[in-house]
């Protein structure tokens, strides 16, 4: 009896990595437990896969609602948002009605979801009013309402307004990494590379060991274009490789490579020993990555590119 108890305990503690099915014909083959684990996994590690979430969620809600317990309310919320993403507004309203029956209509979270439905229908003015009410009457610091207001400004095409609202939000929450990242993306959409650099600098201050922030900062610096920025970019690409030396960081290797080539060809650093050494090192690393991880046919074109751009010594 004891051994059975311990076995079941270990079975529930087992964490296998979940594989998300890629093609819709695979969605129908999922079992109830698999769908449930999938939705749990997407709640914990958020990715934007609305078709998958909508399909699994509707299947669970319509056919297995009794077996879900209290988890059902999280699933209603998740399916509401996914339904808005795939333009199934009626199903989103259905989920909202269930949520507002269980948690009252005065609940902030329920009101926010209603505003999201209004946004999806295109009623941006009404949605803005709801968010304004939440911010003024109930909770001045509601993170999600602030962020949705920025999203509305962006959806209307008003990039400057979105940036203004996001900066206002960042005055309240200076450590919100997602918001700094979104501000950087908004600046990059308008090609304001120096302002995007400032945002990435803030992110690096928050987390100096994150190789992705170094990488994105280096890309912004490169896009600024002058020699001093190119040298800085080269430095940050190298730092990103130091922090994470793997095939997943292929962008940093390519970034370092293209920086060295641009410095040599366009910024008169052809005879610079440091640049030449770096270039040689990164070319050998890239060759190694392609020969290790790719078949011969796939590696042919990148290796040809590396060969074609080898600067004559």
């Amino acid at each position: 009896v004891l051994s059975v108890y311990f076995f079941s305990l270990f079975a529930t503690m087992k964490h296998e990595p979940i594989v998300h099915p890629k093609y819709p014909h695979e969605y129908k083959k999922l079992t109830f437990n698999e769908m449930r684990r999938l939705l749990q996994d997407i709640r914990q590690n958020p990715v934007r896969k609305p078709a998958l979430v909508y399909f699994c969620g509707m299947e669970l809600l319509q056919n297995h609602a009794g077996a879900l317990g209290d988890e059902i309310w999280s699933i209603y919320e998740q399916v509401l948002i996914a339904a808005l993403d795939v333009n199934q507004i009626a199903d989103a309203e259905f989920c909202w009605v269930k949520l507002s029956d269980r948690f009252s209509k005065e609940s902030q979270r329920v009101q926010r979801l209603k505003a999201m439905i209004l946004e999806a229908e295109g009623n941006y003015d009404l949605a803005e009013e709801v968010y304004k009410d939440i911010l003024e009457e109930t909770n001045k610091c509601d993170i999600h309402s602030h962020k949705r207001r920025v999203a509305i400004a962006k959806a209307r095409g008003n990039r400057a307004d979105a940036i203004g609202k996001l900066e206002e939000f960042l005055k309240l929450y200076q450590t919100d990494e997602e918001a700094w990242h979104e501000l950087a993306c908004l600046h990059l959409d308008g090609c304001e590379y120096s302002k995007a650099c400032y945002c990435y600098e803030e992110l690096i201050l928050h987390d100096p060991n994150n190789w992705m922030f170094m990488l994105k900062y280096a890309e912004c610096l490169y896009s600024l274009g002058e020699k001093k920025h190119m040298l800085e970019a080269r430095k940050y690409y190298a730092q990103s490789i130091c922090l994470h030396d793997s095939v997943r960081n292929l962008r940093s290797y390519y970034g370092l490579w293209i920086c060295c080539i641009m410095l040599a060809t366009q910024y008169n650093m052809k005879d610079n020993a440091e640049n030449k050494d770096l270039l040689k090192w990164v070319v050998s690393k890239l060759r190694g990555l392609y020969t290790t991880h790719c078949s011969e046919g796939q590696a042919a074109k990148p290796l040809l590119m590396l060969k074609m751009n080898q600067l004559s010594e």
Binding site: K22, Y23, P24, R48, D85, A155, G157, C185, L188, D189, G190, C191, Y193, A218, E219, C220, Y222, S223, G225, A233, V247, R248, L250, R251, Y254, G255, W257, I258, C259, M262, L289, Y290, H293, C294, S295, Q298, K301, P302, L304, M305, M308, N309
Partner: protein, 262 residues
């Protein structure tokens, strides 16, 4: 029977619609892959390069290289992409001839400032470059209309981009490239291409499309989408004879099915 020598014989002038000068011919591969790229990332801006060459007086777009869906405005990986395209095109005799872009907002069909910058840069290396601005509202599972606006540059410094005059009525000349045709292009009707696109979308082929962002995150993914080209049964400009036969058979099937449906 006796001909009057003083009678003037006027040369036969072909009717005007046959004399329309084609400025751009597009291979079905290029168009279908570009639209599938935009379809794969519905909430993000996408962009890519167009590869091709000049053929007689017309521009022939033979293939496209999907580039980015995460952030389209930063330059380092774009420079890498240009070098990769150069290596890929080396043995095919093609070059980078244009840029296609789909904006993030649904109703945004205008060229952004960044697009003009990129296009001007491509124009410097290839004087007849084109820009395809994808029309987001026309990208849908039942494609029945051309979802691109082709822009060419007028003006001496190549900065003034306007819609190309032979496509304001929405027509683009589609061709197929077959290796059995010895480098000649086989003209096909746009309905055939739209049919291929519709069937590709319904079969979720866009999930297998790889762009440069994907291949930088997963090194073994092939940014030239050779297997996708084969799976779509589309003509490949440098395919094997077997693949070309498959392509021809599939095209024939698509032709008959689209004729049945229309």
């Amino acid at each position: 029977i006796c001909r009057n020598p003083s009678r003037k014989v006027e040369p036969y002038i072909f009717p005007k619609h046959n004399r329309r000068k084609t400025k751009m011919k597009c291979a079905d591969v290029a168009y279908v892959k570009a639209i599938l790229h935009a379809f794969k990332h519905p909430s993000q801006a996408v962009c890519g390069l167009l590869l091709g060459k000049m053929e007689y007086e017309a521009l022939l777009v033979t293939d496209c290289m999907p580039l980015f869906h995460l952030q389209t405005t930063i330059s380092p990986m774009f420079d890498v992409a240009l070098l990769q395209a150069k290596a890929f095109c080396k043995d095919k005799g093609t070059t980078v001839v244009g840029y296609y872009v789909a904006n993030e907002a649904l109703h945004d069909d205008k060229l952004s400032a960044h697009t003009v910058k990129v296009a001007t840069r491509i124009e410097k290396t290839f004087p007849n470059a084109v820009v395809w601005q994808l029309i987001n509202t026309r990208i849908k599972p039942d494609s029945d209309s051309l979802a691109i606006t082709v822009y060419t540059s007028s003006g001496k410094d190549g900065k003034n981009w306007t819609p190309a005059s032979n496509t304001t009525d929405g027509r683009v000349d589609f061709v197929q490239l077959h290796s059995w045709a010895d480098g000649c292009t086989v003209p096909i009707h746009s309905d055939v291409v739209f049919g291929t696109l519709t069937s590709a979308i319904k079969a979720f082929r866009f999930k297998g499309l790889v762009d440069l962002d994907d291949s930088l995150d997963h090194i073994s993914q092939d940014v030239w989408n050779v297997d996708l080209n084969a799976a779509l049964g589309l003509s490949i400009s440098a395919g094997t004879a077997a693949a070309a036969l498959v392509g021809a058979a599939a095209a024939a099937i698509v032709c008959t099915s689209s004729k049945k449906s229309s």
